[in-house]
């Protein structure tokens, strides 16, 4: 068998399935016209594909019951807030007070004005206790 036959046979399943590129189809047509051995291979491929398709198509599909389950789950997911929103909520609840404390601590640093520090100290204690 020539190397050319190998290349053609490699692509025959896609030619038979109608899924080959235009180049592949053209090459195959030219080769098959003059190669009896590859024509026999083509016939075997057609028969194999037919058997596989018939066996597969005889299997009943999942039907409407599965669609109803999918639709129900889609509805639930559409109605409830997506998970990522929970993450943002948690970050918001914990992150905002933490940021506020950092700002207040900055205000209480030795560099800050004394009256400001005195005024802010109880609020910082309160915020820490709350967290």
């Amino acid at each position: 068998m020539a190397q050319c036959c190998d290349e053609i046979r490699e692509g025959i399943p896609w030619v038979v399935a109608g899924a080959a590129s235009a180049d592949q189809r053209g090459m195959a047509a030219l080769h098959l016209a003059r190669c009896a051995s590859c024509r026999r291979e083509l016939a075997r491929e057609i028969a194999l594909r037919e058997r596989l398709r018939q066996a597969a198509m005889a299997v009943p599909g999942p039907g409407e019951a599965v669609w109803r389950k999918v639709a129900g789950r889609l509805e639930r997911e559409t109605d409830s807030p997506p998970e990522r929103h929970w993450v943002l909520t948690v970050l918001g609840v914990c992150g905002t007070p933490a940021l506020a404390i950092k700002v207040l601590e900055g205000a209480l640093s030795p560099d800050a004005e004394r009256p400001v520090r005195e005024w802010l100290r109880p609020w910082v204690r309160l915020a820490r206790a709350a967290l």
Binding site: E10, R44, R51, A65, V66, V70
Partner: protein, 172 residues
């Protein structure tokens, strides 16, 4: 006129969840058959179809159209099958795929094919199915399986030879 899968995906990305119904109509049977090949029982395959549809809905914003919608769905479905197999902790038994389905009496030829397919490994079954039954182009098969096109070709050669051998159709 029936909307194309790409149009339906675009509609879902724009918030039209109703388009999911049409996508289900277009893909559910094919995804179910593909899942059944890997898992061997209808209940598990139905669950995989559900999870695939939901994963597609959740991930629709990330679909850039670099592959076809069909191969995108098959890729998700393949991942769901792999997850289920990992969850089970072992490969599926080589069971004929639809033995408990309410189907007409199967022909001898069909039983032979099912039995032979059941003796291949999951990847070989999936590959043969994508090429021969679904008729996916080489590039799309490679996308679904996550391997280069050259690997698709060499694996298809091995799978096809093994199947033919199991069917007693070795080259004369």
């Amino acid at each position: 006129m029936r909307a194309s899968p790409a149009e339906l995906v675009q509609a879902i990305a724009s918030g039209e969840t109703g388009a999911m119904r049409e996508l289900y109509s277009q893909f559910a049977d094919a995804l179910f058959r593909f899942a059944l090949l890997g898992l061997g029982d209808r209940d598990a395959a139905e669950d995989v179809v559900q999870e695939t549809m939901l994963a597609a809905w959740r991930g629709v914003g990330g679909f850039r159209g670099e592959s076809s919608v069909r191969s995108w769905f098959f890729g998700i479905c393949r991942n769901q099958v792999a997850l289920e197999l990992r969850r089970r902790g072992h490969a599926p038994e080589p069971v004929p795929p639809d033995e408990d389905a309410p189907a007409p009496e199967p022909s001898v030829s069909r039983l032979e094919i099912e039995e032979a397919m059941g003796m291949l490994d999951v990847e070989q079954r999936q590959l043969l199915h994508l090429v021969y039954v679904e008729g996916l182009p080489q590039r799309e098969v490679a996308d679904v399986l996550g391997v280069p096109v050259g690997t698709v070709k060499s694996r298809l050669f091995s799978a096809r030879e093994r199947l033919r051998s199991l069917l007693g159709e070795d080259e004369p």
